[in-house]
Amino acid sequence: CPSTKQHFACEYDCYGDSYFVDTDLSQLKEVFSGIKNSS
């Protein structure tokens, strides 16, 4: 719903990486794998 969407938009960037929570290897790999074609 819009509020959840709004919440996620504040917390995460468009690649699914959190703005606030520190990342680690598995998370960053997951974010990267979600980026279809980097170029």
């Binding site: 990486d17 703005y19 606030f20 929570v21 520190d22 990342t23 680690d24 290897l25 960053l28 790999k29």
Partner: protein, 212 residues
């Protein structure tokens, strides 16, 4: 000139190994010289291209096919040992050979050989040819052996470089991720601090608003 020396046994003297030397220019079908020796005497004869064609006609066989049969019988010795039977009448010098299949054998050809006046020379020449062939093969062997060793070194080298590259790629990936995580978490800390600051300022703003 091509040449081949092979061991044969004559039907008339099965216990004595004879040596058949066949030498030819360009192709066997263009005619060849055949020499037979038992290590003591020697007989030789020349077979012309036309005689070969004649024999092929007599056997109603395609010349190519017939020459192939000749090659198998007189040169490569293809097939099981008793595939071919050789007959030689020393008196007349008549040499004939036949192909033995399961239960039938058919004559493949015959030539007249002349007895050689000085067999020692022919025998020496034949032994020299054999020794030269041994030397040639030995040299080829050594060359191939060296080639073998070089290829093995090259393969090991390429395999080593490949393995190094695989581990370098893994190291690179780990290393890059570590660096990325460091830089990214720096930014996230910055965002958290700015966010916290912003909340404080907004809080303040609200209170001031309220006071006013």
């Amino acid at each position: 000139m091509e040449r081949k020396v092979s061991k044969i046994c004559l039907a008339s003297e099965p216990s004595v190994i004879h040596f058949l030397q066949v030498s030819w220019e360009k192709t066997l079908g263009s005619g060849f010289v055949i020499t037979l020796t038992d290590g003591h005497s020697a007989w030789t004869g020349t077979v012309s291209a036309s005689e070969i064609s004649q024999e092929a006609d007599d056997m109603a066989m395609e010349k190519e096919k017939y020459v192939d049969e000749l090659r198998k019988a007189l040169v490569s010795g293809a097939g099981p040992v008793d595939t071919y039977k050789f007959n030689f009448l020393k008196e007349s010098g008549h040499f004939s050979f036949e192909k033995c299949l399961k239960d039938v054998s058919f004559r493949l050809g015959s030539f007249n050989l002349e007895k050689v006046a000085s067999p020692a020379e022919v025998i020496r020449e034949l032994i020299c040819y054999c020794l030269d062939t041994v030397t040639e093969h030995q040299a080829k062997n050594e060359h191939l052996q060296k080639e073998n060793e070089r290829l093995l070194r090259d393969w090991k080298d390429a395999q080593g470089r490949f393995e190094k590259c695989v581990s370098a790629k893994e190291t690179l990936e780990t290393d890059l991720y570590e660096r990325f995580i460091l830089v990214l978490n720096e930014k996230k800390t910055k965002i958290r601090n700015l966010h916290k600051l912003l909340n404080e300022v907004q809080e303040l703003e609200k209170n001031t608003e309220h006071d006013r």
